[in-house]
């Protein structure tokens, strides 16, 4: 926990300005020292899953080595300590997204489960035949399919707000799709396939004007920008630990307390009850009402460690660095003959989807992999986006704050190699 200062003062050309100390940041992530096929690993698949700093790995092993027991159960020492660590992470999450209360933080398996939880609980309680759920074209499958299942079960219909050729949400059409039948807006904060940052304040304000609650899929936003759920005024916010430098298998559902109080449980089991008899079961208070069964204790503690780690780095420095990476990558990729970027929104996170004329993304992926460069190829769980842009798949480089300009150069060189192979 000694590596705290990840910024330094002064650059020759810009005296006094603080910049991200990349060397220090990179030394926090042991996997970045890995070599692949004898070459330094260039990890550009962060939107799929990000890497873990040593403090996260240590927090998990230390928990198993010294503290593990079930939470909320025993009077014994270890159970108390495990409960303290687990609940401590809930406070860290609350603080990280500035929720009003810790009981508004529900631990789930990931963004997908968080969305399914709301689709199920909100859907059962509030959605009737003829009602509408409003999403957008740029959603990840996990923010489409749960709503399709809900609509089918309840006789409701799914409305889809379109995007333009840059991958920007058409706000006017979004507004016109909001109506008296709309029961919920479910929309991504940042598109995983295009990088588009959606104007959440406007979207949420428009929905609230019609008394429609808003669920935000924040899986791709939280790793790139500070999120303040009170300031956004969203009703639900979901994100995954593994995309924000924490372990896999855990995620967060934030919900305004008034909503979570009003909604029925998602799963039944231990921990979510206050008393059970065969005649009548009463449910536990928030957030435990939504946390049935023994949770992913180590995962939650790891997530807490990841967010505490992030909190020690100035978010402005992270954003400035990622902006530079994105600008440089956009320029480098645009200079490659026959390469087309998919997703050119003016407000964009450091995600670059692209296709190359006459070359299938899978072939791109295989050739750059031989250079030690990890990019994702395929439809990125966003087939409607692929359809919208008329491509079967794309290659995607998604950058995190530990990536470097040299790594962008390596990608550009490897893509030139791809061109050469395919003539």
């Amino acid at each position: 926990m000694s590596r705290v200062q990840h910024w330094r003062r002064g650059q020759p050309t810009n005296p006094g300005a603080a910049v991200l100390d990349l060397e220090a940041v990179r030394s926090d992530f042991p996997i970045l020292k890995q070599r692949v096929y004898g070459k330094p690993l260039v990890y550009l698949d962060n939107a799929a899953s990000s890497q873990k700093p040593q403090v996260v790995i240590d927090a998990i092993s230390q928990y198993y080595e010294t503290t593990h027991a079930n939470v909320h159960r025993g009077v014994h020492r270890l159970s108390q300590e495990a409960t303290e660590a687990y609940e401590g992470a809930r406070h860290v999450v609350r603080d990280f997204i500035n929720a009003a209360e810790s009981r508004e933080i529900v631990f789930v398996r990931g963004t997908t489960e968080a969305i399914n939880l709301i689709a199920h609980s909100y859907g059962c309680a509030r959605v009737k035949p003829g009602d509408e759920i409003l999403i957008s074209t740029m959603e990840h499958h996990s923010n489409i399919v749960p709503w399709q299942l809900l609509c089918e079960a309840r006789g409701a219909s799914l409305q889809v707000a379109p995007i333009d050729d840059r991958g920007v949400l058409k706000l006017d059409e979004f507004r016109s799709l909001l109506g008296p039948r709309t029961r919920l807006v479910a929309i991504t904060h940042v598109s995983n396939s295009l990088g588009t940052i959606n104007p959440m304040h406007e979207i949420i304000a428009l929905a609230h004007e019609q008394n429609v609650p808003v669920l935000v899929d924040g899986a791709q936003a939280v790793p790139h920008m500070p999120v303040d759920v009170q300031e956004l005024d969203c009703d639900f916010y979901c994100f995954s630990s593994h995309k924000v430098f924490g372990p896999t298998g855990v995620g967060v559902l934030y919900g305004k307390a008034e909503w979570l109080e009003a909604l029925p449980p998602y799963q039944g089991g231990g921990d979510m009850i206050s008393s059970v008899s065969f005649e009548k079961t009463t449910f536990n208070v928030l957030p435990y009402k939504f946390e049935a069964g023994t949770p992913n204790i180590a995962g939650v503690i790891g997530l807490g460690a990841a967010l505490e780690y992030l909190r020690r780095i100035d978010p402005d420095l992270i954003q400035a660095h990622e902006k530079r990476l994105l600008e440089h990558a956009t320029e480098s990729l645009n200079s490659i003959e026959g390469l087309r970027l998919i997703g050119t929104a003016p407000q964009k996170a450091s995600v670059l989807s692209f296709v190359m004329e006459g070359i299938h993304p899978h072939d791109i992926g295989t050739i750059v992999d031989a250079e030690g460069i990890a990019v994702r190829t395929g439809h990125h769980c966003a087939q409607p986006v692929m359809h919208r842009f008329g491509v079967p798949a794309t290659a995607r480089a998604s950058l995190a704050f530990y990536n470097t300009l040299e790594e962008i150069e390596a990608l550009a060189a490897a893509l030139q190699q791809v061109r050469k192979v395919f003539g």
Partner: protein
């Protein structure tokens, strides 16, 4: 980089760029569709039989270089072959790309250029999509085939 060169051989790149027997076969009496949605590979295989012989075979679709070249070379190889020969050829091809054994170049002919695939296990599904789709067409199956 030698493994990459083994994978993307000139013959494969050429068939990817100029696929043979490409397009719809109007008189086909067998056809089937293959789809690897995660990759974005799609293929339709058309076959016209004369008794037990593949008189004409074509394919259409979009995919990576490996899947396109595999489909192209498959159609070249199978044109004029009897149905009895298809099964053993498919088996030999599968053994080749999965690295199970190295079938003699004689038995595989041009298909032998795909030996480099065995170094890229993730690409086996690309190389075999056309063959699975062909098999489905011959078995007159109607459900789309996938190798993912």
């Amino acid at each position: 980089m030698s493994e990459l060169n083994e994978l993307y051989q000139e013959v494969i790149l050429d068939h990817n760029k100029n696929p043979r027997n490409y397009g719809v076969l109007e008189q086909a009496d067998r056809r089937a569709e293959g789809n690897n949605p995660l990759c974005g590979d799609r293929i339709t295989v058309f076959i016209k039989l004369r008794e037990d012989t593949i008189e004409e075979i074509r394919f259409q679709g979009a995919g990576c270089a490996i899947s396109t070249a595999s489909a192209s070379i498959m159609t070249e190889t199978l044109k004029g072959k009897s149905l009895d020969e298809v099964g053993p050829l498919f088996q030999a091809f599968r053994d080749l790309v999965t690295g199970k054994e190295t079938p003699s170049a004689d038995s595989l002919g041009k298909l032998a250029v795909f030996h480099g695939v065995s170094e890229f296990p993730i690409r086996v599904k690309c190389a075999t999509l056309a063959w699975h789709t062909l098999q489905a067409a011959l078995q007159q199956r109607t459900d789309p085939v996938s190798t993912e």
